[in-house]
Subunit: 336 residues, 2 copies
Amino acid sequence: MQIRPTIVDIARELNLHPSTVSRALTGQGRVGEATKDLVFKKAVELGYNCNQVASSLRKGITDTVGMVVPLINRLFFSNVISGAESVLNPAGYNLVVCQTHDRKEDETRVIRNLLRNQVAGMIVSHSLETINPELLQNVSSNGVVLVQFDRAFEDLPGTCVVNDNFAGAYAATKHMIENGYKRIGHLGGEFTSNIYEERLAGYRHALEEAGMAFDESIIFTNSISRDKGFYNMAMALEKKCDALYCAGDYAALGVMEYARHNNIRIPEDFGVVGTANETFAELINPSLTSVEQNARDMGIEAAEAFLAIREGKSPVKRKIVVPMKLIIRESANRNR
Amino acid sequence: MQIRPTIVDIARELNLHPSTVSRALTGQGRVGEATKDLVFKKAVELGYNCNQVASSLRKGITDTVGMVVPLINRLFFSNVISGAESVLNPAGYNLVVCQTHDRKEDETRVIRNLLRNQVAGMIVSHSLETINPELLQNVSSNGVVLVQFDRAFEDLPGTCVVNDNFAGAYAATKHMIENGYKRIGHLGGEFTSNIYEERLAGYRHALEEAGMAFDESIIFTNSISRDKGFYNMAMALEKKCDALYCAGDYAALGVMEYARHNNIRIPEDFGVVGTANETFAELINPSLTSVEQNARDMGIEAAEAFLAIREGKSPVKRKIVVPMKLIIRESANRNR
DNA sequence: GTGATATGCGCAAACGTTTGTCATATCAAA
DNA sequence: TTTGATATGACAAACGTTTGCGCATATCAC
């Protein structure tokens, strides 16, 4: 187990004081050009690598950002993580990724752990179970930058990055109206989440704008899984629906499966639009029109918000709305 | 910006020495039960949270593991990350995730960064560009545990976790043989990677075992993308193939698209099997038979290997082979 | 040549924890 | 009463870096 060289070693070999070596390497403070060169040469010669832990302790802050998500391997979140990483890593920050498995208990544990590790900031999407994240109430007062995304509590301190769910759902519903569907139902999620509330509102707005009735009886909540989609497609047909806007692609997939099993043609007889633009949306047949979440952009926005706050270039409290984009494919397109 | 309490604060309030408080909180060393209680009470009262940075500096090692992958948001890798996290986080370790974008330059940068941060270990899958990861040659001698997975260099120190690519490809090819396909081609990857070499070998073994000719002219390397699959399907048909084993699902997807465009029935006229079992494999029509990589298991195995090495319970040098599983669906199944 | 300013670098303290050693107290055995 | 063992907790050094302070020396304007 060889020992790694420190600035003290460099200083000793050059008959300098460690502080001078530190100043030379970091570029903070006054050091002669000549000695700076000497230090750099010696650092390379010894294979010196700065000890970030010591540096962080002294500076009282690390170059680490905690990322808290329900599940790393859900496409949406892995896209957000990837986007955030691609901004933060080149900026000199490390991303510590933690998953909550949608459990409040885990969320509390990982957040406490991140605080112990003196992270410079946290980028958080809350677990489904979380109703009141009390731990986060005073992180800002400890100098930890908080950025929430997707599932966000707007009354917490810090910045939020959210999708324009209202506009996305509105565009999807409008697209179906324009394609001549007359009775459009909705498969939504649970209303404990701001996201699904907003999607319902966007859907409703599109209907009302077109002078179409908003009918509670064809709103199916808690219905974003594949099997719920399958089941509720049957229910929707009983209620004479000829289209469904789904708040998730897996629900839309269930809808399409039911249609295939019952020889209902999509999009001719029935229209369906999903949300999230999962990988499979373009691969299935017919391809699924879906509202893209721009997950990667959300990660990039969240990371940039963190950086801006850290550098004092941005107000701490802010709401960033990432647009959603309707990706038009076949599943609700019968205009031609 | 309120200041966080330290063990010194606790010590002062209780007229104890910081070292006693430390011992009480960590449970290392002898402390009276009575004072231990006092310390815990006071710690809660002040809202004390251990400063891991200081602790790490003193102990010379952190509780952080670096994870280096080409792309976080590729399903395979996000599954591995998720598996590793679910083992490491409960064990008290943090996972720092870095992506290399398949560039050697980025790989070098993130690894150096991890070393600066005194990580306890690294779990690495190399970038496509990496031929010789010299940086990793002596990490072990610095006490950093190295675990490689998937794309691994076996001559490096440390443990490797790899798929049984040979067996997976063998099973896939055998499945096609059993379904009566007579001239089975192969869409593979680049041979700079051990993975694709092994898959080709497994494919070849199945053929030869069945007394079928191995024909170089129907081996298409560097062909794991969707469009390469599409293109090489045309080539394979010219060479009178009636089936293809693809080293990636996206290539298989391209194959199926070409078939649909040219009214070739799958699996009746042509068989295809992919590798990776991407999400879409079961969702497309016909569904795609594919070799499952067990990515999550690989992450779990890698994390457990790290833990075992850290605790000295396992030899540093070891090779762990994770089985692959053939998921039989429709795309090469014409026995009934 | 004088005083003012700038430059280069050493000194020492500090960040918050851990840990080896040492002092004191307690208690049992001799 | 002495001796030795055991338990408790104090003390101080250490991890490697950063940074305010101050002291020389160099540079400059007048």
